[in-house]
């Protein structure tokens, strides 16, 4: 970088950090820009160094203004280009806004380190987002209509480059098979090798669609019994949860007839397992709370599913006092620390989709409660990054804001607001 900077606010930071910030946030000038072959459609190479976190009292806007002023004062020229997002890491967060059933929707791509929106993609009606386990792509299963919300329907899978956010695949799904439902993350899933996308069909009969992402083509529909959700345990195997209270193991096989096998029934008919369980494809742990805070866990990574002793998140006294989970994505699981995060509050029965103000941290092995965080506001969805010092993400649908917390202390460290109309779904990758 050749820019000179005047002393002032910017001088509070080191020159190295400032260079990195400038590289990430502003258009390159001079040699970088001249390297591009097409001056009318320039793009920037991704920043090699992530931008520094904001200082106290600083916002992205004030930082950018200071940098622009310094650039201008130094005689720098503005040479607009199309930016690229920083390379994804474990703290890349995808916030999906189903927009209260609107025909078109948006996905916000957030750098959790800096609490900055680094890009967006558009989608149709109630899309299901997916993110590759190695961060190499993200995408969604989506639906559009030829005349806004009527006319000919097209279901499709779209795959995006994580840095340019350009679509790299657009695969049509024949016979409009998508299940249109409030967004449940595990109604669509990638196989561990990220080569296959699986999606659920509800009507006319339960089925799972297989999309060959590597070959960029729809493969086939697999008919299944009366079961829901998709939890891939290997590149050829996934599990579902059935109406009768068992899990179903489905082995796809290459081209041949799929093999299915039910586990034992593991919960009673009056124990209601929520629509947003947590699942770690990396270690096969399925974490599934009920309306009352009983948490079933299964390990799907082996030859067959093995069930763990259920955990009660609340004591009998707490249940009597009204404590229960509630919200949209009510549970998160951090693989390395083997911790469960549960969104909960005091509430009457049958208010299980209204937001909660508290997060319980629970040891998944012992069932012991480690902490209870008071987030101080109404939160609908939580998730955690899977790095060693995880961030706890807390999304408020009504405030349309993602609050970022230190998962170890519960302390709120930053936030990102103005996330659409009714943001509900947080997706991260276990990189």
């Amino acid at each position: 970088m050749t820019h000179a900077y005047r002393p002032g606010k910017a001088s509070l930071r080191s020159g190295i950090a400032l260079s990195a910030v400038l590289l990430a946030l502003t258009a390159p000038t001079g040699a970088l820009a001249q390297d591009t072959q097409t001056p009318t459609a320039q793009t920037q190479t991704p920043a090699e160094t992530a931008p520094a976190p904001l200082a106290a009292g600083e916002t992205h806007g004030t930082r950018a203004a200071a940098e622009a002023a310094a650039h201008l004062a130094a005689g720098g020229e503005d040479e607009p280009v199309v930016l690229q997002a920083p390379a994804p890491d474990a703290r890349r967060v995808y916030v999906n806004d189903p927009a209260h059933f609107a025909a078109i929707t948006q996905q916000y791509i957030v750098d959790g380190n800096t609490a900055r929106v680094v890009g967006m993609v558009d989608a149709g009606f109630l899309p299901n987002p997916v993110v590759a386990s190695d961060g190499s792509f993200f995408g969604h299963v989506s639906s559009v209509w030829s005349r806004i919300a009527r006319g000919e329907r097209t279901d499709y899978v779209e795959v995006f480059d994580p840095v340019t956010h350009e679509p790299t695949a657009d695969i049509e799904l024949p016979n409009t098979p998508r299940f249109l439902v409030g967004t449940y993350p595990w109604m669509s899933a990638l196989t561990p090798n990220n080569k296959t996308l699986l999606f659920y069909q509800f009507s006319p009969t339960p089925a799972v669609g297989v999309v060959d992402l590597a070959g960029k083509r729809f493969d086939r529909m697999i008919e299944v019994p009366d079961c829901y959700h998709i939890f891939p345990s290997s590149d050829q195997t996934f599990y579902m949860h059935c109406r009768d209270g068992s899990l179903l193991k489905v082995t796809r096989g290459e081209g041949g007839e799929p093999q299915t096998q039910n586990t034992e029934v593991f919960h009673r008919e009056d124990e209601y397992l929520i629509n947003h369980p947590a699942y770690s494809p990396k270690n096969g742990r399925l974490v599934w709370p009920t309306y009352t805070g009983k948490i079933f866990q299964a390990d799907l990574g082996g030859e067959n599913a093995t069930f763990r002793e259920p955990i009660e998140a609340f004591t009998e006294e707490e249940k009597q006092a009204g404590w229960a989970p509630g919200g949209w994505q009510q549970v998160a699981y951090h693989r390395d620390s083997n911790r469960i995060f549960l969104l909960a509050d005091q509430r009457p029965q049958w208010t299980h989709k209204t937001p909660s103000r508290f997060v319980l941290v629970i040891d998944a092995e012992t069932g012991q409660r480690i902490a209870r965080y008071d987030l101080g506001r109404n939160i609908d969805s939580i998730a955690v990054s899977q790095d060693a010092e995880p961030q706890l993400y807390a999304l408020s649908t009504v405030e349309r804001t993602l609050f970022i917390h230190d998962a170890a202390t519960g302390e709120e460290t930053s936030s990102v607001d103005q996330l659409g109309h009714g943001p509900q779904v947080i997706t991260t990758a276990d990189m």
Partner: protein
């Protein structure tokens, strides 16, 4: 859509205003009240398509002290109305019990295969 009041308040039904989220027949509605966009309590707005399928709930009517089975049917084929948004979950069950699950877009059976969500009606189909 939550109201301004405590989002965790207990459901307390009324029988005086069909456009309010606490109207007794809306005890398990998810989306928007059709009466607010040209439909009525039990009819779809012009230009939309009436689904034949539904989810159900047993809702308590404070006027006569009876519980009734409400068959929530969606009016489909237009973008979401955005008016009188409402989400109640009395007796609402997870998706593996779909007959009581209200996140599902219950547009099945609508004319022209309309499957986009516009609003929901709350007709009675029987006593519960």
């Amino acid at each position: 859509a939550e109201g301004a009041a405590d989002p965790r308040r207990k459901w307390t039904p009324q029988d005086t205003d069909v456009q309010a989220c606490d109207y007794w027949r809306h005890c398990s509605i998810d989306g928007n009240i059709c009466d607010c966009s040209g439909g009525s309590l039990t009819n779809c707005p012009p230009g939309t398509k009436l689904a034949s399928s539904s989810w159900v709930a047993s809702c308590y009517n404070p006027t006569d002290g009876q519980s009734y089975l409400i068959s929530y049917r969606d009016c489909c084929g237009k973008n979401v109305s955005g008016r009188c948004g409402c989400l109640n979950t009395e007796g609402e069950l997870p998706v593996y019990r779909p007959e009581f699950g209200n996140d599902i877009i219950w547009c099945f059976g609508a004319e022209d295969d309309a499957m986009t969500y516009h609003c929901t009606i709350s007709p009675i189909v029987g006593k519960a």
